[in-house]
């Protein structure tokens, strides 16, 4: 029976994970952490198996008080770190603290914590470099995107990922990094979801790359598998749907409209200024040209994770009948 601490518990993924862990008989207690006040945090409660704590993870003192206070009292063995700033357009010191420094604090403190034995870190497929000379099927040893011109959204995620990876084997706690495919859903910080949310989705003419899409349910099962597993390492977490970008648009119900490549960025820039949409073409330019599919073989072999929850495409049935 393990006691589990979940950061980012009020995000859609965190909520689903907490709900699932409460129902898991192998888990004795769930310590849910979020920055929202308790009365607005989770839409469910469980007196015996769930404790919610409001913590600002960008403040190291609060993190220390959390881990060496209630987490120690609850004998937390596993920390699942899901908290990340979700907007791709926000930047600055505060965002960096949320994305990187919070994780650094957790890892530092876990090393000398009396009960924490395992830290599971949710990372992102965006940490990988995409290029025409790199494989479509991306394994864990694929080059990372270390481009200094990359947006902070990417640089922070790469730094957080590497911060966790460089401590593997050097701390008392086992560290597991899950590089997850984008999950389609509101509040997931998915650029692809924002891209598909528009009635007309633009893409550079002549290109139709393969994309891999996950669901919240699959990510929850991957995190659960990592929570209960043993050993450490980096694992790709792909979704069950691998398809061309234009097919994803069609199944999602939006029109995929090809236009000359150099025009796509200005149009999306204008759209952002007019509507405030999150999608950034600059961030996704390479993945809209070259295929990028996570290879989940290692996660399957070590964690026993296999994607089994395909996306419930809104117009998938219509498309299949049409085909």
């Amino acid at each position: 029976m393990r006691s589990v601490l979940v950061t980012g518990a009020t995000t859609p993924l965190g909520e689903r994970l907490v709900r699932s862990l409460i129902a898991d008989t192998r888990v004795s207690h769930v310590l849910a952490v979020g920055k929202e006040p308790p009365d607005r945090a989770l839409p469910f409660s469980h007196e015996q198996r769930l404790t919610y704590v409001q913590v600002d993870l960008t403040k190291s003192r609060q993190v220390r008080d959390l881990l060496f206070g209630v987490a120690r009292d609850r004998s937390v063995e596993v920390v699942v770190h899901l908290s990340q700033h979700r907007s791709a357009r926000d930047r600055g010191h505060k965002v960096h603290q949320a994305n990187v420094e919070a994780l650094r604090s957790i890892l530092d403190l876990s090393d000398r914590h009396p009960t924490i034995r395992r830290v599971v870190v949710r990372s992102f497929s965006v940490v990988y470099r995409v290029s025409m000379d790199l494989p479509v099927l991306v394994t864990e040893d694929h080059p990372l995107n270390l481009d200094p011109r990359a947006p902070q959204y990417v640089r922070d995620r790469v730094e957080a990922d590497l911060t966790a990876c460089t401590r593997m084997g050097l701390t008392n706690a086992e560290i597991v990094v899950l590089r997850c495919a984008e999950a389609l859903g509101p509040g997931m910080g998915s650029q692809l979801f924002d891209y598909l949310a528009s009635p007309v989705a633009l893409r550079p003419a002549g290109f139709d790359p393969m994309v891999n899409v996950a669901t919240v349910a699959d990510l929850v099962s991957a995190v659960e598998a990592a929570t209960h597993g043993s050993g450490e390492g980096v694992f790709n977490i792909p979704g069950a749907d691998t398809l061309p970008l234009s097919e994803a648009c069609r199944k999602w119900g939006c029109v995929s409209f090809p236009m000359p490549g150099p025009l796509v960025a200005p149009v999306y820039g204008l759209r952002h200024r007019l509507t405030g949409s999150e999608f950034s073409y600059g961030l996704n330019r390479k993945t809209m040209h070259f295929g990028f599919v996570l290879d989940g073989t290692r996660a399957g072999e070590v964690l026993g994770y296999r994607p089994s929850h395909p996306v419930d495409w809104p117009v998938g049935g219509v498309v299949r009948m049409g085909a």
Partner: protein, 281 residues
């Protein structure tokens, strides 16, 4: 994608006929869940490729092939062929030939140079027909899933060779043998006779690296000539009987294996040149 799979299905049905559709239906491939494999290949587009390639294969280049029984019916294998002709028509004809002469049909997965994956439209259509970018990771993934790779070890220098250098194999890269040894895949040497004369190349103009093409060819003809293609398949070379997978890290052994493949391809070319009665016959 220029058009969705259902349009591809209609196109191949209308212009290719039932035999093309039947071949596409019998094609075994690793569906990643939506009718495409992880690299983007789709049977309906393979049928379109078959439909487009057939008039060229049957009537324009009038392809004759010899030794197709040497192509393994199942499992990972590598076809290693000479490359020439200014345009990669030899790759297309070899692709059609393998697809037609294997039963159940197999699609050879051509391994293209990186610049091909950056070409608009072409990259997408090629990917739908099974072409993959030339990276070690792509080749490894395909061999691990038992696919048939089509590799031209001469690479771009082969397709860009001048007319005076025809049938002289250019620098022979060794990556295909490293893959073959590591993955215990047989290598089938292939000699393609005819392509080296299809579009005589006189010179090439270098282009800036920022452009997505390696050079601009100056050819004697604006379009390929209707030469006859002769495709010769040699007996598979079983490096797995001589080497262990760890030998893939030994440069000398890999180089020796590549030289054997090159010698076999050269032999097939000489045999093919002696057998043919003329460039157009």
């Amino acid at each position: 994608m220029p058009f969705p799979p259902r349009v591809a299905s209609v196109l191949s049905s209308v212009f290719g006929g039932p035999s093309v559709r039947d071949r596409a239906h019998r094609l075994h491939f690793a569906d990643a869940g939506h009718g495409f494999d992880q690299f983007g290949m789709h049977p309906d587009f393979v049928a379109v490729g078959d439909t487009i390639g057939s008039p060229l294969y049957d009537r324009y280049f009038r392809v004759k092939s010899y030794g197709a029984e040497n192509i393994p019916k199942t499992g990972a294998a590598i076809l290693a062929a000479n490359h020439s002709g200014s345009l990669p028509v030899d790759g297309a004809m070899l692709w059609v030939d393998v697809y037609r002469r294997t039963d159940p049909p197999r699609t050879a997965r051509p391994v293209a140079d990186h610049f091909v994956t950056a070409l608009p439209v072409v990259s997408t259509l090629f990917a739908r027909c099974g072409v993959v970018g030339g990276s070690r990771g792509n080749a490894r993934a395909l061999l691990e899933s038992g696919e048939l790779l089509m590799i031209f070890p001469e690479g771009v220098p082969g397709i860009g060779k001048l007319f005076k250098d025809r049938y002289h194999l250019q620098e022979w890269r060794v990556g295909h043998c490293e893959l073959a040894i590591r993955h215990r895949a047989p290598v089938v040497p292939v000699g393609i006779v005819g392509a080296e004369e299809q579009m005589p190349q006189l010179a090439k103009i270098p282009v800036p690296k920022s452009l997505p093409i390696p050079y601009i060819p100056i050819t004697a003809t604006p379009l390929p000539l209707p030469v006859r293609y002769h495709i010769h398949y040699g007996a598979p070379l079983r490096f797995d009987l001589e080497y262990t997978p760890d030998d893939a890290d030994d440069p000398e052994k890999v180089h020796a294996a590549a030289q054997r493949v090159k010698a076999e391809v050269q032999k097939l070319l000489e045999k093919g040149l002696s057998m043919r009665e003329g460039i157009f016959r």
